[in-house]
């Protein structure tokens, strides 16, 4: 099939303003959008810049706005996108070059929720036991690949970048609901603030954007509920 990629280009080293690059070529309908981007980079314009690695939706490198929604370029096939495809960088982050954005602030938020298991009891000789039912409680949120699609699609985050954002909350949830974790109190304190979970207005754009199909809003809701019960 014939496709046209409209890509928002911006290289601060030489451009004053972002501009739209248009690239027309033939591709297989079953190609990933990432394959099409690679085609542009490899054969049409070597300066096109974006991140990519695994090419099958696991590493979280290539989240971008595709036809107006946040997706992973390696996880959408051209046949589902139509002939004219508009591609822009994730919004809400500083654009460094073309589709590549600065994720430092995003990752700093991730780190702020203490995303690691905290235990005070000494480790047993073998594994800590955990029932399948307890394991199931946080299964959904262990899937996060830190791609940033959710946070960048969240209107509350667009409004104020101080919002810790859905991705960080997802990762806090992963530990808050892990029966082995004993660091909940600290994490709760970070989240029980204006810039924590309470800025979430249940807009669900995060859920729509998440390439790992994590029900992000539900995780946030569970954290809110946990905060509520802790206080009452």
């Amino acid at each position: 099939m014939q496709v046209t990629l409209r890509i928002k280009r911006f290289n601060p080293e030489k451009d004053k303003e972002p501009w739209w690059g248009e690239y027309k070529f033939a591709a297989e309908p079953t190609d990933r959008l990432l394959d099409a981007l690679n085609y542009v980079k490899w054969y049409l314009d070597g300066s096109l810049t974006y991140r990519r690695s695994c090419a099958h939706g696991i590493c979280g490198s290539d989240a971008m706005q595709i036809n107006g929604s946040n997706r992973l370029a390696c996880k959408v096939l051209l046949m589902n996108l139509g002939q004219k495809i508009t591609i822009e960088p994730l919004r809400g982050y500083r654009v460094i070059k073309d589709l590549l954005v600065d994720m430092d602030a995003f990752l700093a938020k991730y780190r702020s929720v203490r995303p690691y298991l905290v235990t005070h009891t000494p480790d047993p000789e073998k594994e800590r036991l955990q029932s399948p039912a307890d394991r199931e409680k946080f299964d959904d949120t262990t899937k996060c690949i830190l791609c940033g699609a959710c946070t960048s699609g969240c209107p509350s985050f667009w409004a104020d970048g101080e919002y810790v954002g859905p991705a960080a909350i997802v990762n806090a949830h992963r530990f808050l609901f892990d029966s082995r974790d004993e660091g909940g109190e600290d994490r709760m304190q970070v989240l029980n603030t204006l810039d924590g979970v309470w800025r979430c207005r249940t807009i669900f754009n995060c859920v729509e954007a998440c390439p790992r199909e994590i029900n992000v809003t539900r995780a946030i809701g569970e954290v809110k509920k946990a905060l509520l019960y802790r206080k009452i």
Binding site: D160, G161, E162, Q189, T193, L194
Partner: protein, 126 residues
């Protein structure tokens, strides 16, 4: 670490605001929709005049009803607009100023409204 911002200390305020929004919302569902139903649909502005109000306020029930509605709607609304302002007004000074104006406005109008409801003296029926 740019833009990370140290998390502000927990105060619990946001949590209480959140729960209040939900409880007052459910109450408003009955009160506000009831109010609209009575004043704008079953009756409509064609029927409503001073006389109508006077009759209604002859019973304490409607006064209480309106008073509760006023308070809940006002606090719910002020808090709602607060979230909106906090979202879109990030420069510190502007944020403080706009929030202060909002609270002031809310307070004055709440007082005014309460006063009107409480002090209203229906003239003796002719």
């Amino acid at each position: 670490m740019n833009g990370a911002g140290r998390p502000k200390p927990e105060s619990g305020l946001e949590l209480y605001a959140w729960i209040f929004m939900r409880i007052s919302g459910i109450a408003l569902l009955v009160l506000a929709l009831g109010h609209l139903l009575i004043m704008h649909i079953v009756h409509n502005v064609d029927h409503i005049d001073f006389q109508f109000v006077a009759q209604r306020y002859a019973t304490p029930f409607w006064r209480t009803y309106d008073l509760v509605l006023l308070w809940l709607a006002m606090i719910h609304g002020v808090n709602g607009v607060r979230t909106v302002l906090v979202d879109y007004v990030s420069p510190r000074g502007w944020r403080t100023a706009s929030l202060a104006s909002l609270y002031l406005l809310g307070f004055v109008l709440l007082a005014l409204g309460s006063l009107a409801i409480l002090t209203f003296q229906p003239p003796m029926a002719p």
